[in-house]
């Protein structure tokens, strides 16, 4: 599904990712763990199409050259990024935003767009599953939301858009244990034969609820070690400094 080969990324000639390699097959869950500043968000941003990086190397998504696709085209093809810091968008109603987003993707795929009633039914159902306060859906996007509510809103968007590849950038940080479980439930509900996940996290806490197939350790823009779920536990015990 996703193939990353020799990806290098720089900002203003500062090297952030170096010779990054990763392959994710359909249905797999990969976790990337790494200390602050190791390049985790940079990787997520580049995969989603954020501008401002000088990149070399190759990224293929279902055999499409990712770099030839605009940000919105990547979303249309099924890439979703749950932001580490979801943005507040004043004046834009959350429901209106969700519907605009879903229908933009459906339209691009040549699927039938949802009308207001169908959409509301869907969003209500998903909000309930995620214990997301319905009243918040009528508010301006993320404005006045707590940190936890913003993160949950990302997962709500994910479950409505039903992406093929979901990238979760530290969705777990700042969540209490109940919220963490809800988020994990959201991910697990989407976890099907063909949906893949790239879960970026600091701690192995989230990985107790979402069992990854592979764990990678990112240091200074490079994957220094890969393994199974047990690697997360080892990291937790030894710390990043003593891994090798």
């Amino acid at each position: 599904m996703l193939k990353i080969n020799n990806l290098c990324a720089k900002i203003d000639s500062k090297s952030i990712l170096q010779d990054f390699k990763l392959e994710i097959n359909p249905g797999e869950v990969h976790a990337i763990m790494g200390p602050n500043g190791s390049g985790k968000s940079t990787l997520s941003n580049i995969l989603s199409g954020k501008k401002g990086y000088d990149v070399t190397g190759e990224v293929l998504f279902e055999n499409n050259d990712l770099f030839s696709l605009e940000t919105e085209e990547r979303a249309h093809k099924g890439i979703f990024l749950a932001f580490q810091y979801p943005l507040e968008i004043p004046g834009v109603n959350t429901n209106v935003f969700l519907k605009t987003s879903l229908n933009a993707i459906k339209k691009a795929r040549g699927e039938k767009e949802l009308d207001a009633i169908q959409f509301l039914k869907l969003v209500k159902e998903k909000a309930k599953e995620l214990k997301f306060d319905k009243e918040k859906l009528g508010r301006q996007l993320n404005v006045g939301f707590s940190g936890g509510e913003k993160k949950k809103n990302e997962i709500l968007q994910m479950s409505i858009l039903n992406p093929k590849l979901s990238i979760l950038d530290e969705t777990d940080s700042g969540l209490d244990i109940d919220a963490l479980k809800t988020v994990a439930d959201g991910v697990n509900a989407l976890r099907k034969k063909n949906n893949s996940f790239l879960i970026i996290t600091h701690y192995q806490r989230l990985l107790e609820y979402i069992k990854p197939d592979f764990v990678h350790v990112l240091m200074n823009g490079k994957i220094i070690k890969s393994g199974g779920p047990e690697l997360a536990l080892e990291l937790e015990k030894k710390g990043y400094e003593n891994i090798n």
Binding site: N45, S48, G49, K50, K51, E70, T71, E72, R74, A75, H76, F80, L81, F83, P86, L87, I89, P90, G91, V92, N93, V96, F97, T100, S101, L102, A104, I105, A108, Q140, Q157, L161
Partner: protein, 415 residues
């Protein structure tokens, strides 16, 4: 220009049999205009918008005479279809039609005024120009306790072959105690390169409410100036909303004298500018007695080489304790060549007041654009959503639902 002015003014005086009083009124104003000419950047009020220069570069030489005996065609003017309304149609400065068909006839009085013999208030040279060249002007009185059932729409238009002309119109309004008027100004010109000069006086008696919505949306190459002079008695409310967008140049000047306690003035506006359009809002809110309130919010979205100017002044005199005055402007610059100038002015002579002002400008937030695009919206859709969101709070300031929806439609703000 002086030559042309004199010829046109002579011609104008010969058109009608003006009374001696009218003649004197016009002559005094004419002389005053001759002396001062069009305002230029040397005047503090005009330092961001040199009208003299703007007329020169956009119009060239102006003529001032308009034939008020001729009947102008009005059936081609496109009327608003979204809401039922009373109407006044002005073509080349001449009132062609006054139609209050939705109202009780004995509750509205329309008078033809002669103009005072001398100029009591010397506001500026454009008001002099207006008084000299506008026709006999009318005064509309809304009787005590009467709220108009439907809004009054004033259509400002020009004839197809009117070009390089100055047109002047003036209307005075009096809202008697507890009366209420919703007034919409709409611009529908049929020709280019003219200078439209509009002057309104409003006398707001006790507890009356005026809502004035000025909608300049159709794209045109005209230069416009509009002056609202609002005098407010106890408990009266004035709400002004300006959608400033379509004209080449437009300066809206709003003067509110809060003369009675618990009177309040709201001035809100949107600059939605493209190309090389240059617009300005200049407000003067004069808090003259205790316990008055003013609120101003102006938002700008500026494309290409457009330029917006907001000069908001809050004046509080020494008796006006407990004044509440607030003023804020925000601008989004969509191009490196667009420009926003804000000059807030607080002049406060009382000590127990609550006054504040603020201003910000910046470009569209790229991170927000990225966020929206990562959810499947293309750049244009993301930009539109952000801009609509940015404008929403000022649109929400419109207290009339029907008119709010009209303006939302004009701006393409969907819900």
């Amino acid at each position: 220009m002086e030559e042309q002015l004199k010829i046109d003014f002579e011609k104008k005086l010969k058109d009608f049999s003006y009374s001696d009083q009218e003649k004197k009124f016009k002559e005094t104003n004419f002389k005053e205009f001759l002396k001062q000419g069009f305002p230029n950047r040397k005047l503090e009020n005009w330092k961001f918008s040199d009208l003299n220069q703007i007329i020169k570069s956009n119009i060239g030489e102006l003529t001032f005479y308009n034939d008020y005996k001729k009947e102008n065609q009005i059936d081609k003017i496109e009327l608003i279809s979204e809401l039922e309304h009373n109407k006044i149609i002005i073509v080349d400065g001449k009132i062609e039609k006054i139609d209050f068909k939705f109202e009780d006839k004995d509750k509205i009085e329309v008078l033809v005024e002669q103009g005072e013999e001398t100029i009591k208030e010397n506001i500026n040279s454009l008001i002099n120009l207006n008084n000299a060249f506008s026709n006999k002007f009318c005064k509309i009185i809304i009787k005590k306790n009467y709220s108009l059932k439907k809004p009054l729409v004033i259509y400002h238009s020009t004839n197809k072959n009117t070009q390089s002309k100055n047109t002047n119109s003036r209307i005075d309004f009096k809202l008697e105690e507890n009366a209420c008027l919703r007034l919409i100004d709409i611009f529908k010109e049929n020709s280019e390169k003219n200078f439209l000069n509009i002057y309104y006086n409003f006398q707001l008696d006790k507890s009356s409410i005026l809502k004035n919505y000025k909608i300049d949306k159709s794209i045109n190459n005209n230069v416009k100036y509009s002056y609202n002079n609002v005098k407010q008695e106890t408990n009266s409310i004035s709400e002004t909303f300006i959608l400033s967008s379509g004209s080449k140049f437009f300066k809206n000047e709003i003067n509110c004298d809060l003369l009675g306690q618990h009177s309040s003035a709201f001035v809100n506006g949107i600059f939605d500018l493209d190309e090389e359009n240059h617009h300005e809002i200049k407000s003067n809110i004069n808090h003259l007695v205790e316990n008055t309130k003013s609120y101003q919010l102006v938002k700008s979205v500026l494309e290409k080489k457009s330029k917006a100017v907001y000069q908001g002044k809050i004046f509080v005199n020494s008796e006006a304790q407990k004044t509440d005055g607030y003023q804020l402007s925000n601008a989004i610059l969509l191009s490196e060549n667009s420009e926003f100038n804000a000059k807030p002015e607080l002049e406060i002579y009382a000590d127990d007041v609550k006054c504040s002002h603020g201003s910000s400008s910046g470009s569209l937030d790229e991170n927000s654009i990225f966020y929206l695009m990562s959810r499947g919206l293309n750049y244009q859709e993301a930009k539109k959503l952000l801009i609509n969101g940015f404008l929403l709070d000022v649109i929400e300031k419109i207290t009339d639902e029907e008119i709010k929806n009209l303006i939302k439609n004009l701006l393409g703000v969907k819900e």
